[in-house]
Point group: C2
Chain length 218, copies 2
DNA sequence: CTAGATCAAATAATCGATTATTACTAGAAA
DNA sequence: TTTCTAGTAATAATCGATTATTTGATCTAG
């Protein structure tokens, strides 16, 4: 969906899709909230058709729930779903990292170092939205050369889902530090081509970030 | 997406979504073909808005590719993607079946037997579209109680993707028999609660159906 | 009071017409 | 002939207005 934006002329529908997606990840709209189409039109200053097309895409992607004749709602948050998402991320990102470590080339190594550098430089002063983006890019860079388009697609999708939970979590400083340290370790293991241990670590990493998110999940 | 249809009043957009999805799986439109919106309108006798909303959903779901200002195209078929889809199905359905065998209750056992019975009864005389549906239902029934909403979601999505390849494959009779026999074996292993061997068999099953599909994939 | 029916207001879905962009064709220059 | 350009036809995207459905308030019967 993202490539569509980059390639030259974006349509209104594509633009509003990206903006809405980001706002949903940022928690701008509450869990379970009904999205009034008229209100959205006003807020984002867009026409009805492109807005509805964007909402339809978001529903198919899993960030909104569409009820016929009753419009669109933000998805609810639940402990059960967080557990589900976390377990799926463990499985899929674990597998993907294993493959990436085996297949990644020199270009990948540089990209990974760069992504980690940018993430490390961004301290607690950077706005959280910006940090989230760097964090996403780092994780993307990690698994990018796994060789499976569908695996990457599912991972991104789950990452978006997970972000909704991360966003409502308080920023626990001690755990945050531990997570940052794991990012560095992940790079080290990746460059050392230790796929076994890299996989084990990212699974641990995902479990830990789930625990952070859980602290705020009712 | 399917539940939306069942729950009372379906909208035009939801109806046309389901019809288009089925037609895409049935191979009514060729791989890579551009879908003319005006033509679709005429073919399905629907208005522009609901049609475009359905197309947007299908693109987000991965059955169409959307190019800004250039409309919608059917996705191409490729050996590489078939290999990707097959490997993902092996991993995910394998895992799901393992969990289902561990968690499934008596109700599941009956559903499974029923689904298998219906599939077995439908011989080579039944139209292929109908057989495909029974086959899908059987595989759904197998993994249904795995306990993970996201796992089931990804499996369905991959199943739809795979169906596009299966649809263009010639019906090789010997292999077909072998696949049918595996369905029975899967039921037996499931009822015997042998999750290890059930998983191994479904992985083999998926690989075999991939080979059937490959025979026709350029 | 409570449950059910009825109507009015709100709003989701759809339609028809318009605008913007791309694709195609023909003609001119190299 | 080939390659560019201009103009035109085709069509994708968007807008504004209309229709259909749901929601919520009010009223009535039990």
């Amino acid at each position: 969906m993202n490539e569509a934006l980059k390639q030259g002329s974006a349509t209104t529908a594509s633009r509003i899709y990206e903006v809405l997606r980001q706002d949903l990840l940022d928690g701008r709209y509450g869990a379970g909230e009904r999205l009034s189409i008229a209100l959205l039109r006003e807020t984002y200053q867009v026409g009805l058709s492109p807005l509805r097309e964007a909402l339809n895409r978001l529903a198919a992607y899993g960030l909104l729930r569409q009820e016929n004749q009753r419009g669109f709602r933000v998805l609810e948050l639940s402990r059960d779903e967080l557990a589900d998402i976390t377990e799926m991320r463990r499985q899929l990102e674990g597998k993907a990292l294993e493959l990436a470590v085996e297949h990644g080339d020199e270009e990948w190594e540089s990209q990974l170092l760069a992504a980690n550098h940018r993430l490390t430089k961004a301290g607690s002063h950077t706005p959280i939205v910006e940090w989230e983006q760097l964090h996403s890019r780092f994780h993307n860079a990690l698994v990018a050369p796994c060789g499976s388009v569908w695996l990457l697609r599912f991972i991104s999708q789950l990452h978006d889902q997970f972000d909704r939970y991360r966003r409502v979590a308080p920023r626990a400083q001690e755990l945050r530090h531990q997570l940052d340290a794991q990012h560095q370790e992940l790079v080290d293991l990746a460059l050392a081509r230790d796929s076994r241990r890299a996989r084990a670590l990212i699974e641990e990493h995902i479990t830990l970030s789930c625990e952070v998110a859980l602290k705020s999940c009712r």
